[in-house]
């Protein structure tokens, strides 16, 4: 982590709202992309990002290690998304109609390929592709061994590769 980033995180932890805003700005697009892929519709995705930002901001005082800010952020986001998946997917059925992902610019084949993955694998792929996390970090976030992450990631990528003919 670069020195400046560390400084930002520390300022944010000590209550500097603009530092937190700047940090958010850095990760906002990635967070939204991640949420979109997990939540499947932009309404839930936006909701998830907002909720996560709020709750992370509220619990900043608990961050022990500024280096882990990003993985904390994404870990929180992925928890929020999972909860949304479990509780809101049903409503999404009707929200989706007429509100389908106006902002999504994912290439359609990629979206299709992603949607064919199970939630866990999709989460791992997105954490790795969008979040840029290493399997070790993803394992820590999801509380599964890094080996499992690597295996799942490999399988999922192979599957997507076939789908996408990459």
């Amino acid at each position: 982590m670069k020195k400046e980033m560390k400084k930002l995180v520390r300022s944010a932890i000590d209550g500097d709202k603009s530092a937190f805003g700047t940090l958010y700005e850095i990760y906002s697009v990635d967070m939204y992309r991640f949420a979109l892929s997990m939540c499947k519709n932009s309404f839930d995705a936006q909701d998830a990002v907002q909720e996560t930002v709020l709750s992370v901001f509220k619990s900043l005082g608990g961050i022990k290690n500024p280096e882990k800010f990003k993985s904390y952020l994404f870990s929180a986001l992925s928890n929020t998304c999972k909860k949304k998946l479990a509780t809101v997917t049903l409503q999404s059925d009707f929200i989706d109609t007429g509100y389908v992902d106006a902002e999504i610019e994912f290439s359609i084949p990629v979206r299709d390929a992603l949607s064919k993955l199970d939630d866990d694998s999709r989460q791992i792929i997105m954490l790795s592709v969008v979040g840029g996390f290493k399997s070790r970090e993803i394992g820590e976030m999801l509380e599964i061994p890094a080996n499992t992450v690597r295996t799942k990631q490999k399988r999922a990528l192979n599957k997507m590769r076939e789908e996408l003919e990459l």
Binding site: K6, R10, D14, G15, F20, T22, Y24, S28, V29, S37, S42, F43, Q46, D47, Q50, T52, V53, L54, S55, F57, K58, S59, G61, G62, I63, K64, N65, P66, K68, Y72, S75, A76, N79, K83, L85, A86, L90, E103, E105, F106, P109, K116, D119, S121, R122, I125, S128, V129, S135, R136, E137, E140, M141, E143, I144, T148, R150, R155, R161, L166
Partner: protein
């Protein structure tokens, strides 16, 4: 190869950030939130104008009258359980059946993989919000600001006496603030009245500090043999117990992680326990050590017995999963599989994760005994009468439930007895209580509801028993909403009484079981206080309610009928950013009142108390005195603008009034309170200075409890 693929995928996933999520919008949203945990009227900008989270608080008072059988309870033996092996849980006499179970689990996991993308009811997630003790992350971000609460200091003694004036300055030494008086909990600081024992913030060393003299003096440093990160310590006579996350297969420890030769990392997957003989405090000697598979979850100590719990996840991928599917314990460098007879398997479970409970009697040097259950430990609750593990479950898509596994103590360890399931998920270990006969649990559940024209919510059954969606609701606007419940279960873990669907739209913030009463705080915009009478366990009824502004994150019974609440101050519109300590008179459960309110900064500064996340930071100084840490910005005059200050505030109860005695201010910038205790009339606070160059720096600040002046400092890790 995968890097290239990642890059390609990345390129094809361009999105434009919606206006909603622009930095400006988010910062505006945050402006309505106060620093470090205080929500004030959150204005969220949703395209569909979803129901806003409601903010404020109320307390449910739940009388467990009739669940309680007098003072003699403590001596009563637990009634024998006739059905030792409920139908859902089985024990096999050989590993073969366990192998079979794992073959089936592997098959299921492949099935899910193959036909992935379907969120079917059988998929399970840990709904722990990442708040696990073994996570390097801070407490969960998602909504569940963890809140502490718990049962009375002595749940068998309802007639605890009012503190007397004489005891006011009767200082001896501090003990860890425990959920149950007779069950010790691990902490980073312990004392025996002569020495302080501190698990340093570098997570690698333990310092023994002599505090008998006028100056603190470090006499020894223990460096555990096992590589890994020290988590907690216990002191019991001349024994020091340290528990840590064990790392293996690599040399370098970097933020708790190892690095493979190929550059990838490995996590700290196992748990170690080391017992040191400290009869010579300056020369601690390693006496016993063992390790158990699985990442460290929690521990307790009752008498000389240590109960250590880890979660062991079986790797289903690859072909050698059968070799790994029996958890192992390493004693004196020899690995042993836990005997089949000590492993309980929940037949319906489809999660390849065990809770491993190892019992070690530190007094007699006997080999540790392990018990395992195929279920993931999320919260541990223990009294001297029983040990309980909770695990949350996705029943179907909308409902989350909690499994509770009940263990009884044997002469040498624990034995699984029964399992129960309740609706909803729990807040923390303090959401549970057990008196030897009945187990009580407070949960927050998500329910699917429809709204009528008047905005009234009605709970609907969206799925039938087979998990098919009810067509009736296909074109009805449904929503999910939180409801809160309290269940009473017998020793067979069958529900005998319940209060359900309380405080619509709110989450439980803290729970405290005191004798036959339960105090439940939830968080909402308006702030009623419900009083619920459970005299008839099968027919609990709401008796009354009371409003209090703000809400408590931690509740502590200080005297008979008096409850201390540490939480956030506020108005009828929500919290105002300040913290407060309140005294509640609950002697009349029908009319609870808030008799003292002590704001920390008088509404002037943003404030937060780490006690909400770590109840061990609440320090009982005497029967009528205690100290609570806060972190506030810009509230005391210092040379530094926006200086963050850590402060321990000392309170005293006189009669039925609570007053502030002293404030111990500590530099806050880049320093954090890790723990505190007292010996005689000296109060010790352990702080960690953080930042890249000083990571792990640990120092102790001492205060004279008579003059309230700082009298010493000692750095244990530079």
């Amino acid at each position: 190869m995968s890097k290239k693929m990642n890059k390609k995928l990345n390129e094809q996933m361009n999105v434009k950030l919606p206006e909603n999520l622009s930095k400006e919008n988010i910062v505006t949203m945050l402006d309505s939130v106060e620093t470090n945990d205080n929500i004030v009227e959150i204005k969220r900008t949703n395209p569909l104008k979803k129901v806003l989270p409601l903010v404020a608080s109320f307390v449910l008072l739940i009388g467990l009258v009739g669940m309680y059988f007098g003072l003699g309870m403590g001596d009563k033996k637990i009634p024998p359980v006739e059905n030792n092996e409920p139908s859902q849980v089985v024990r096999y006499d050989s590993y073969d059946k366990i192998y079979k179970k794992f073959k089936q689990l592997k098959k299921e996991s492949e099935y899910i993989d193959l036909f992935g993308g379907v969120l079917n009811g059988s998929m399970e997630y840990a709904v722990d919000d990442g708040a696990d003790a073994d996570s390097a992350m801070p407490e969960s971000a998602e909504g569940s600001a963890s809140n502490m609460s718990g049962t009375a200091d002595n749940n068998t003694n309802t007639s605890s006496t009012m503190p007397s004036e004489e005891s006011q300055n009767d200082f001896d030494f501090g003990t860890t603030n425990r959920q149950e008086a007779d069950v010790d909990e691990g902490d980073i600081i312990k004392t025996d009245g002569k020495y302080l024992y501190i698990a340093n913030a570098d997570n690698k060393t333990i310092s023994i500090v002599d505090v008998a003299g006028s100056e603190m003096k470090a006499v020894a440093t223990i460096k555990p043999e096992n590589k890994g990160l020290v988590q907690e310590i216990y002191i019991n006579g001349d024994k020091l117990v340290t528990i840590g996350k064990k790392s293996s297969e690599y040399e370098d420890v970097f933020y708790g992680e190892g690095i493979y030769e190929d550059g990838s990392y490995y996590r700290l997957a196992d748990t170690f326990v080391e017992v040191y003989n400290i009869s010579d405090r300056s020369n601690p000697k390693l006496e016993t050590k063992y390790a158990q598979q699985g990442s460290y979850k929690s521990s307790r100590m009752i008498g000389t017995k240590l109960y250590c719990i880890s979660n062991y996840w079986v790797e289903l991928y690859g072909d050698d999963y059968l070799d790994d599917c029996i958890p192992q314990v390493e004693i004196n460098d020899t690995c042993e599989k836990i005997p089949a007879g000590c492993i309980s398997v929940i037949e319906e479970s489809n999660s390849p994760s065990y809770s491993v409970i190892t019992t070690l009697d530190i007094a007699n040097g006997a080999e540790p005994e392990s018990e395992a259950i195929l279920g993931n430990c999320e919260e541990l609750y223990a009294t001297s009468k029983g040990l309980f593990i909770s695990e949350s479950k996705y029943g179907n898509v909308t409902r989350v439930s909690t499994n509770i596994y009940r263990f009884e103590y044997t002469d040498t360890g624990v034995e699984f007895k029964s399992m129960g399931t309740v609706d909803g998920t729990i807040n923390d270990q303090f959401s549970m209580s057990y008196d030897g006969e009945y187990f009580r649990i407070a949960t927050t559940a998500r329910k699917t509801v429809t709204y009528d024209d008047n905005g009234r919510a009605t709970v609907v059954q969206l799925f039938d028993e087979d998990g098919n969606r009810n067509k009736e609701f296909d074109h009805v606007n449904i929503s999910t909403i939180t409801m809160n419940n309290l269940y009473i279960l017998d020793n067979d873990m069958k529900i005998v009484g319940k209060v359900e669907d309380l405080a619509e739209g709110e989450n439980i913030e803290s729970v405290r079981f005191v004798g036959k009463m339960a105090y439940v705080v939830t968080f909402r915009q308006t702030d009623p206080l419900f009083v619920i009478d459970l005299s008839d366990p099968t027919n609990p009824t709401v008796k009354g309610e009371l409003k209090i502004p703000g809400f408590s994150e931690y509740l502590h019974p200080i005297a008979d009928g008096l409850l201390v609440g540490v939480g956030y101050d506020g108005t009828q519109f929500g919290t105002n950013g300040d913290c407060k300590v309140s005294l509640f008179d609950v002697s009349n459960p029908y009319e609870p009142t808030e008799i003292s309110i002590l704001p920390v900064t008088g509404g002037k500064a943003n404030c937060y108390s780490p006690v909400g996340e770590n109840h061990k930071l609440y320090i009982k100084l005497s029967d009528n005195e205690f100290a609570v840490p806060f972190r506030a910005r810009n509230y005391v005059a210092t040379d530094v603008e926006n200086e963050t200050v850590n402060v321990y505030i000392r309170y005293r109860l006189t009669g039925d009034k609570l007053c502030e005695v002293a404030r111990y201010n500590m530099a806050g910038m880049y320093s954090r309170v890790m723990g505190a205790t007292y010996v005689g009339d000296t109060f010790y606070v352990v702080l960690n200075r953080y930042g890249s160059s000083v990571e792990g720096t640990t120092y102790i600040v001492a205060y004279d409890l008579n003059t309230n002046e700082e009298i010493g400092r000692l750095t244990t890790v530079e």
